[in-house]
Subunit: 207 residues, 2 copies
Amino acid sequence: MAKQQAADRPLTRIQQKNRQTILDAALEVFSQHGFRGATLDQIAEVAGLSKPNLLYYFPSKEAIHAELLSGLLDTWLDPLRALDAAGDPVAEILAYVRRKLELSRDFPRESRLFANEILQGAPRMMEALQGDLKALVDEKAAILRGWAETGRIADLPPHHLIFSIWAMTQHYADFDVQVRAVLGPGHDPYAEAEDFLDLLFRKLLVP
Amino acid sequence: MAKQQAADRPLTRIQQKNRQTILDAALEVFSQHGFRGATLDQIAEVAGLSKPNLLYYFPSKEAIHAELLSGLLDTWLDPLRALDAAGDPVAEILAYVRRKLELSRDFPRESRLFANEILQGAPRMMEALQGDLKALVDEKAAILRGWAETGRIADLPPHHLIFSIWAMTQHYADFDVQVRAVLGPGHDPYAEAEDFLDLLFRKLLVP
DNA sequence: GTCTATACTCTGATAGAC
DNA sequence: GTCTATCAGAGTATAGAC
């Protein structure tokens, strides 16, 4: 049985492709309905596979969900990691805002998967939030505070400044249907958001 | 049978109290797990009632959820409705931000219920979003545009300005666990947010 | 008005044929 | 590797005793 193959044996191309198909379908369903609201039936239908076949590739519903979550936080934080204390303060922050907005635009389902997990009280991510996430934010907040104290950007509470960047960029992915319903047809929310957020933070950060 | 009582017969005090107990418990569960992820078992347990008893007061799970949603958008938009074209522009907007943040602080479960509905693609609210919501936002956006054109506030795209207010205030309710995980103990997120958002929009709105 | 019992469907997961 | 068949448990909802 393939299931019992040695852990170091690489997956075949077909296996990799099917795993990817399943994960993509699962992302679609989990990001919309959350863990409990999603069903294997739905995921199987979206993936175009049978339910038992899903469970041939993954041991359980939990395992599929865990696979999606693992790495998600890392991807989500990469733009913040790139914030460079040696760079130009305003340019660094604006670049961070832009990259974060690009993530929302290019990976809205991942954003909603994350949002669902947090809304549910982060039962599967709390550790990461209090560990890696807090550590990284504290580190970068210290950089922001340094810039503020030397008068290179406005004096704002750094943690809440970061929250505001998260809130505004993720809003366009998580509340996409509301944004489009309010704007009406003929708009490109992300293109407009890019200009608006650039303007907003440029003005906000002036000392 | 009480179920068959005339529609105009008022509910007894006990009935009103039980209905309220159920709705409160349902809000707790629906706001955390979304419609599909929530179960009547959970709601019944939180309410301290039996499952069949829930279904004595409400005809179905859908009906409980619908009751919670109806009126929610209205409550949510009341602060925006209060935005007065005749008032002082900056003061009006800052007051709106403050009232919106107070809603997040005082009714975080309602905020998360709404977020869940939008994340799921707003299957039960799309009409209201495209109708009442869009109409009100367009109306208030026109006021903001007027203020901008006469140089009383900065020239910003009014719809996105409103989105940014929604995003930042609701973030503190919807992502509460993340905010608290990052800030660590000894913080009052909403108190800090009030000062920060006041500062942010005060600075942003200067022409 | 509230409970126990239960009907019936959905859901996650397994067995076993091919 | 993939399918059909199926199980056990959970889920919504109803019937009927009290």
